[in-house]
Amino acid sequence: MNKLKMKVDLNGLILNNPVTVASGTYGFGREYSELIDLNQIGAISVKGLTLEPREGNEGRRMVETPMGMINSVGLQNPGVHYFIENEIEFLRQFDTKIIANINGNTIEEYCEMARILSAEDVDSIELNISCPNVKNGGLAFGTDSLVVREVVAKVRKASKKHLIVKLSPNVTDIKTIAKIVEEEGADCISLINTMAGMAIDIHGRKPFLRRGSGGLSGPAIKPIALKMVYDVHSVVNIPVLGMGGIANATDALEFILAGASAIAIGTANFSNPYAPIEIKKGIEDYMRHYGEVDINTLIGNLRI
């Protein structure tokens, strides 16, 4: 059995293999560490952090939909300081990269968090621009080109760490947003975050979620995510971290062929805690079957 080259380089962030786990689906790794070997995961993007601790939204927070789920956790997290003091060390035991997913109410909050994390032992900062912008009537930062330019530029200045910007899919033209993100100095783009979605309890005549609506994730959105990853990869030169509904090795390979240098597994962890390991193995099997020795030759390798 030949040794396969599975390392991928996300523009300075080097992963042992392209299989990572998505923010908000893996906590800080503690719970899943009891079930699977975290050393086998390329990177862990931790639960979305905010400057101050947050209790998140009131329940009910989740409803299942056809091959998907809508969540409105509302960024419940212990805050960036708690993370630094109590979680980094735990994660550092494992041979996996740590991505700190950050979320702000204002551009200043994003910058402040980026500054704080610059001095800490994390491998990358993932700027989640799907958060509602309190100064802008609650519209997500990531849906307005001007705001995207400003927040990425300022965070870039605030920190020299490897910077991933995570895009919202709820936009008309993701290519334009991606180009702005690249221009303003992001090292890598991750996409997609959840899509705005809703489900209604016809007996109670109210939305299932206390907050009315939430974010749709899971296999249902995979075709949309794949198209966006393909589109973004076609217009930027920085690497893409693809996600959205990936549940098996075939899905992961679709994203890699579409141009993702690495992929993240979110919702699929819930239905199958072994998903990251099975997907990594499935990618390796595919490579052996087709005599590929380096995962990098597959990235964006589509015959169109």
């Binding site: 893996y26 906590g27 719970e31 899943y32 998907g68 969540n71 296999p219 962890n269 819930f270 239905s271």
Partner: protein, 259 residues
Amino acid sequence: MKFVGKVKLLKKQIINEENFSFIIERKNEMGLVLPGQFFNLSATKVGYPMLKRPISVSEVGENTIEFTIKIIGAGTKAMLDYNEGESIELVGPLGNGFEYYGYRKILVIGGGIGIAPLKGLINSLKKETVEIHSVLGYRDVPYIYEDFKARSEKIEIMSENDDRYRIGYVTEPVASLLEKNSYDMIYVCGPHPMLRSLTDLFNSKGIRAQLLMEEKMACGIGACLVCTCKTKSGDFGFKHSRMCKDGPMFYSDEVIFDE
């Protein structure tokens, strides 16, 4: 210790039109399995519905585990299609389970399918040392009450509609039992409104019970934070606990019922 994988369905038993039970093989890798804990079960072999369904253990044998399941929606309906001899994918045991060490006189209160996990509890208590009083409530015809009958010093079976039994809700007999007895611990599992009104009763009397609660779950292990339970924190504050990991057993004086 948690198990992730497939186990064989050894026996499927139809209880009535709405309820059935599964006996599956218990694997060594599962370690201890406590009453009140649950497993997350795949509803189908084809993976649809997508999320696993949390189901409490209703009996733990040496080499077997029993689940008692009520058909509610698409997932539990599909589960009924597993054939004996087939494998079911599951994760568990999950959650904290009941605390029951050292109690000598207990009251168990169950409503509907909520009676299933309490059955696991009473059957794991030694007859010689624990006195059990039971109050079981049903909408229609009672089921899975035999073990409670056999094991309880006192038992009250209620039904909302079957007049061969005492008609009404479990709250009434519970109130009068509490007048006449003092229990080391009370255990409750049943629908949300029942948990809520009993908790009001307990709070008004300054006693506490162990509630086995429910919320929609995704990961089942405490990582995704969708299964929130509002609990007290300090004197006036609250926090969002995880039903799956910090629960599903919560003490009645910890929980904030505000909907």
